[in-house]
Assembly symmetry: C2
C-alpha cells in the first residue's frame, strides 16, 4: 500500500504498478529524467481516467490542465526491469493553483523518488488561466486552502559558467496523445547540454523545472546550459526565439 513518508494511508492516494522497460532507460540502465517524469504522470492521468475526468472531457468543455512547475527529488533512479509503485495525491488547491504530490516506491516500499507539481486550468477560448471549477477539482478530494505556496524559482545564476548552447526542432513525433510536446523532449534538450563525462560520473539529486510557455510543432528551440562554480548545480533554459519556454535548476551528486 502507498504511504506518504510513513504517514497514514489516505483515501485520495492513487497508485499503480509499473515495470521499467528498456526504452525508458539510458546506457546506465537507469530511467532518463524525462521518462521518469512521464512515468510519474501515468498515475495522475490514470486517476483522472478513473474519476471520469479525462483530458478529452476537459477539452470538450474548453479547458485543459497545464503544469507550471515540477520539483523532483531523487533518492535513486529506478533501473531497467525494476517493479515500482507510482503513487499520487492531489494535495491542496486554491483559486487558481492545484498542488499535487507524486512518489515512487520500490519493491520494499521505500520511497526512491518524490515530485511536487503545480497545475493550473487553462481556458482554451480565452487563452488564459481559469479559476478552478469545482466539478474538475472536487472528485480528487484535495483540501482547499487560501494560501499560495512559495515554491523556489529555479532561475539561473548569472555568475554561473556557460557550458553549451544547442538548437533543436520540434518534430511531428515529439507531440504525444495529450497534444503537447512530451516531457522527454524538454528534459532531453536540457540534459543533452551536459557532457558524457559529467553524466557518467553524476546522478541527479534534485530538479526544479518551471514552464512559462509551451513550444509547438515546427518551432526551433535553443537550450542553454550553465554550471555553478561547485560543479554540482546546473541551470537550464529553453527558449523559442526570444521567448523563454522553460527553465530549470538541477542539483547533482557525484557517483
Amino acid at each position: 500500500m502507498c504511504r506518504k513518508d510513513g504517514g497514514f494511508l489516505k483515501e485520495n492516494i492513487f497508485s499503480e504498478s509499473h515495470k521499467i522497460l528498456f526504452y525508458e532507460t539510458d546506457r546506465t540502465k537507469k530511467t532518463t529524467i524525462g521518462m521518469l517524469v512521464n512515468i510519474l504522470m501515468l498515475a495522475s492521468q490514470d486517476q483522472s481516467i478513473q474519476l471520469g475526468l479525462t483530458e478529452e472531457k476537459l477539452n470538450e468543455r474548453g479547458y485543459g490542465w497545464v503544469i507550471t512547475q515540477h520539483v523532483l527529488k531523487v533518492e535513486r533512479l529506478p533501473i531497467f526491469g525494476e517493479n515500482i509503485k507510482i503513487c499520487t495525491k492531489a494535495d491542496s488547491y486554491n483559486r487558481y493553483f492545484c498542488y499535487r504530490d507524486f512518489w515512487i516506491e520500490d519493491e520494499e516500499g521505500k520511497i526512491i523518488v518524490k515530485m511536487h507539481s503545480i497545475f493550473v486550468l487553462m481556458d482554451h477560448k480565452k487563452r488564459k488561466i481559469a479559476r478552478l471549477l469545482p466539478e474538475f477539482i472536487e472528485p480528487y478530494e484535495s483540501e482547499y486552502t487560501n494560501k499560495i505556496e512559495r515554491v523556489a524559482d529555479p532561475k539561473g545564476d548569472p555568475k554561473s559558467r556557460l557550458v553549451s548552447e544547442k538548437n533543436y526542432r520540434v518534430r511531428f513525433m515529439d507531440i504525444d496523445s495529450n497534444q503537447h510536446v512530451n516531457n522527454v523532449h524538454y528534459f532531453d534538450w536540457m540534459i543533452d547540454g551536459l557532457t558524457e563525462e559529467f553524466l557518467l560520473t553524476h546522478t541527479l539529486a534534485e530538479m526544479n523545472i518551471k514552464y512559462k510557455r509551451e513550444v509547438h510543432y515546427g518551432e526551433m528551440v535553443n537550450s542553454e546550459t550553465r554550471m555553478a562554480e561547485n560543479q554540482l548545480v546546473t541551470y537550464h533554459l529553453i527558449k523559442a526565439g526570444e521567448e523563454e519556454s522553460c527553465y530549470a535548476c538541477c542539483t547533482w551528486r557525484s557517483k
Copy 2:
C-alpha cells in the same frame, strides 16, 4: 491465447500484455513506429529473460544479438490506452541467421501488427558474425533449416524524388540499457523526413528496414528521405559520414 494467423497454439510462443502509454504515442493518439518496434521487442527480451538467456549473460560470454532486418506489416496501429497482447515465436534458424516472428493482438484477439525479424549473433572480440551456438538457440525451440530466407532488400529507387535531408547527433540519452541507440531514434530520424501534411493524411502499411552498421554516441547521422512517383512508397537512408547505417522502404495508405 496467442494464435499465429489462426494456426495452432505452439509451445514456443511467448506472449505478454501491454497497455499503450501516452508517451508511446504521437498526436494522432497512435503509437509512433519506433515505439511500436520497441513494444514488439519487449516480448523477445522477456522471453530471453524467462529462459535465463539475458543480454548480460551473452555479453559475459563475449556475444550479443544483433538485428539485421525487420519487416513490419501494420493492419492498424495500437492507440493510447489500448490493451494489447504482444506475441513472439523464434521461428527457424540456420548456421548464422535466426528468424523470429512478432505480432500484436487486440482485445478481440485480432492480429493488428506483424513483424518478421532476422537476428545474428555477434562475436564481440572478433567483431564479426558468429556461428550460432546451440546453447543460445535451443531453449527457444525453433526449427533448424539449412535454407537462407530470401527477404526483400529495401534499397531505394534511384528514380524516386528527394524529399529531405536532415542531420541528427547521437546523444547520451539515445542509447538505452541494451547499450544500443534505441529504435525510436532510427525510426524518428526516418519519419521526421516526411511532412506534417503527409503524416496526418497517411498511415503506415508496411516497413522493411535493414541495418548495416550501428551508429554510436556523438556521431552525426544524415537521414535522406525519398518518395516514389505514386506518393505511397517512401525510401529512407541513414548514413554516418559516408557509411550506410540503415535503410528502409515504407508503404503507406491514404487515410
